[in-house]
């Protein structure tokens, strides 16, 4: 068991590997991985992620450097050079580590995270928001706009049929001007969008990677979320909660238009 030479080599190999891993994580971590940003609150989320990346990267780097140094330095010792830390020193090191982590972790949550979380989830949409009702079903997004009267028609599950996927009650007059669409959502740039998320069957998840929006649609509940797109263009909509064998192809599109284009599209849609 006592082949010292092979241990010295093993110690050095391990130390080099650990150092390489540390540097590799930092190098690969510093590249830009996040999809391009296209919403206001997304900036806050990106700051949170970047802060955590930087802080975690720093801690990973120091951890691996120290670990590699220990392996290199003490790998070749045949007599121990330090035996038992006093309880005081153990407690000191623990407290130091806890303080650093508390500042990074809890500090990050309270200082950077909570304001964004409160704005995104815990606040109601501003009155100027364009309301869109998205009803998920197994493997499609039913989109509905309130139309000029600003009110959504009543829906009841009993009326659902092939040509009436949302079960809109035809007798309800506010339903007559509702505009229904499939898998494509049209919104106006720099104008808040309030999404009323519902589901007909299983749990899906309304995920806009570029706009940093994700909210599960829970059957039996109508969940409101709002965001402000601040870049025009088409962005992809994906489902982020396992919903059956079509989960991977439930692709939708969010088209962010200028107000004029949106009005033109609305007119075209109403009498088209």
């Amino acid at each position: 068991m006592e082949n010292r030479a092979s241990y010295r080599v093993a110690g050095k190999c391990l130390a080099i590997t650990v150092w390489l891993i540390g540097l590799g994580v930092i190098a690969s971590g510093s590249r830009r991985w996040l999809p391009s940003l296209a919403s206001e609150h997304g900036a806050g989320i990106d700051v949170m992620i970047r802060f955590t990346m930087a802080a975690a990267g720093a801690m990973i780097l120091t951890g691996h450097m120290v670990l590699g140094f220990f392996l290199w330095r003490f790998g070749s010792q045949n007599k121990i050079s330090f035996r038992l830390a006093s309880h005081r020193m153990e407690r000191a090191w623990s407290v130091a580590a806890v303080l650093v982590m508390a500042v990074v972790a809890e500090g990050g949550v309270l200082v950077l995270g909570m304001p964004v979380w409160a704005k995104v989830f815990a606040s109601a949409a501003p009155s100027s928001a364009l309301t869109v009702e998205v009803t998920t079903e197994q493997f499609a997004w039913n989109v509905r706009y309130a139309g000029p009267d600003g009110k959504f028609g009543r829906t009841s599950p009993q009326l659902i049929s092939l040509d009436n996927p949302l079960g809109v009650d035809p007798k309800d007059d506010s339903a007559k001007d509702d505009i229904v669409d499939l898998n494509i959502i049209h919104v106006v740039v720099n104008r808040p969008v309030k999404v009323r998320l519902r589901s007909k069957d299983v749990i899906h998840s309304f995920f806009l990677p570029n706009l940093r929006v994700k909210q599960d649609s829970m059957p039996g509940m109508t969940i409101d979320l709002w965001f402000v797109p601040n870049k025009t263009g088409t962005f992809e909509l994906a489902c982020a909660e396992l919903c059956g064998f079509g989960h991977y192809e439930m692709r939708g599109i969010l088209i962010v238009m200028t107000p004029e284009d949106f009005e033109k599209w609305l007119l075209e849609k109403k009498n088209g």
Binding site: F152, R154, T155, R196, G220, M221, T222, I223, D224
Partner: protein, 96 residues
């Protein structure tokens, strides 16, 4: 029979509390009823655990394990999910 008296005394008290709880159903209402019923339930549970199961004569650490293990974990579970039950009710149907 003398050593068993403690059990039959507890038995008597338990019955009185039970009858009291049912009577309270008619007399009190609302929050007061809820609190008094929960209190009576706690007393009955303590009586059964304490005397019938001899928990009183065990070491404190065992008493803590049993009571805390059961009550604390159950309370944490209920406290964590209760807020969502109200939210589900509020957001059910066309809500929002």
């Amino acid at each position: 029979m003398t050593t068993y008296k403690i059990y039959w005394a507890t038995w008597g008290v338990l019955l009185l509390i039970t009858l009291g709880m049912i009577a309270a159903g008619g007399a009190l209402t609302g929050k007061l009823l809820l609190v008094s019923l929960l209190l009576a339930m706690g007393v009955k549970a303590a009586l059964i655990g304490g005397t019938f199961m001899h928990l009183r004569s065990e070491q404190l650490s065992l008493i803590l394990i049993v009571t805390l293990g059961l009550l604390l974990v159950g309370a944490i579970l209920f406290a964590g999910i209760a807020a969502d039950a109200v939210r589900v009710l509020r957001l059910s149907g066309d809500g929002g």
